[in-house]
């Protein structure tokens, strides 16, 4: 109908019509990505995320394994930009290591857990020569690997990742986040 009206009323040739169509399509797309929309607030409200959630479990949300047989799995996490958490093996005893724990009911187990090696980190602090102790930390994305064994059936697993996060100037108390995944064992 629109095409008929355009051709009839405006006397457009097909090139002009195509140009106009592309422009209109792009205009629609641009409208969907309103540059003035407050995306951060919307995302924050929807997710219910708190600023103190320094670490996010990314994936997998679903895992399929062979029942009773140890299967390799990789769990991916992300540390918020500007923050770091201690690695699984901190350099000193008083630093709190990152750990993962699966429910003790035994229906889904994770063995041979492998955390990545931490990165060597020194707090960049002016006026404090040396910047204090060297730390072993995770920043950005990191992956925890392990061998998963599950009894036959569907399992909604809620594992727990415990960590202690800091930025260059302050630390938050240790915190635990849920690591939720649907495990199907066939």
């Amino acid at each position: 109908m629109i095409r008929w009206l355009s051709v009839k009323w405006l006397g457009m040739n097909s090139l002009s019509l195509k140009l106009m169509s592309v422009a209109l399509a792009l205009a629609t797309l641009a409208g969907q990505q309103n540059p003035f929309a407050n995306l951060w607030n919307d995302a924050g409200k929807k997710s219910g995320a708190k600023p103190t959630d320094a670490v996010r479990y990314m994936y997998p949300e679903q895992v399929t394994v062979t029942a009773g047989k140890a299967t390799p799995v990789e769990m991916h996490f992300e540390v918020k930009a500007g923050l770091h958490i201690n690695s699984h093996v901190p350099k000193t005893k008083d630093m709190i290591p990152t750990t993962i724990a699966f429910p003790a009911d035994g229906s889904v187990k994770l063995d041979e857990v492998e955390f990545p090696a931490g990165k060597d980190f020194l707090l960049p602090v002016a006026g404090a020569p040396g910047g204090g102790d060297h730390l072993s930390v995770y920043t950005g994305e990191f992956t925890v690997r392990g061998m998963m064994t599950a009894t036959r059936g569907e399992h909604l697993v809620q594992a727990k990742l415990r960590y202690q996060a800091c930025d260059n100037r302050a630390c938050m108390p240790p915190h635990t986040i849920p690591v939720v995944m649907d495990v199907t064992a066939r």
Partner: protein, 218 residues
Amino acid sequence: MRDKNFMVAGLAMVVFVMLAAAGWANWMNRRHIAEMQSQRAMEPMAMGNMAGMGAGGDGAGEMTSPMVGKMAANFTLTDVNGKKVSLSDFKGKAVQLNFWATWCAPCKIETPWLVELEKQYKAKGFEILGVSFDDLDMDDAAKLKSETADIAKSANQLGINYPVLLDGDAISKQYGDPEVFPTSFFVNRQGKIVAATIGLTSKDDLENDIKKALGTGE
């Protein structure tokens, strides 16, 4: 017909230019949002549940806390040697309440400065109370003893020569539930909180706040 085609093509060009401008604005906005997200990710800690930032240095540490201007709540906690210590024991003195933990790397940078400042201003009536926020297993005597020994050892390694009190969580609510460490409250001789630092700040900032508590600073 030809004129109309030119007109439509011209209109299409105008739309393209507007879209390019909108796209650029969109990209700039997204970049701004990404920067804000990154900044917010870094700041929750320094911001915690406190109010906005005040002036000072590079902007870190020197914060405006809702606790500033209030009377410091009295409390009694046990120190690492098993001795009961109350804030009211220091009536008439300027006191810095330093909330810290053994797992807090920035606290370890700040502590040697505090040790020096405490020595420097002690004669003028200044005291520091270190309040540890390390977890304690109150129901298990053996674990509690071991945890207390760890805190004492850490304090000793840092050269702390002022009282180190245990179980900061017990007084957390009275001091606005600080979410990050180190956090310090500076209490003047009349028992009023006159300054606060949230997160690691500079030695100069700490000294200025000590002077405020002593009534000799701005």
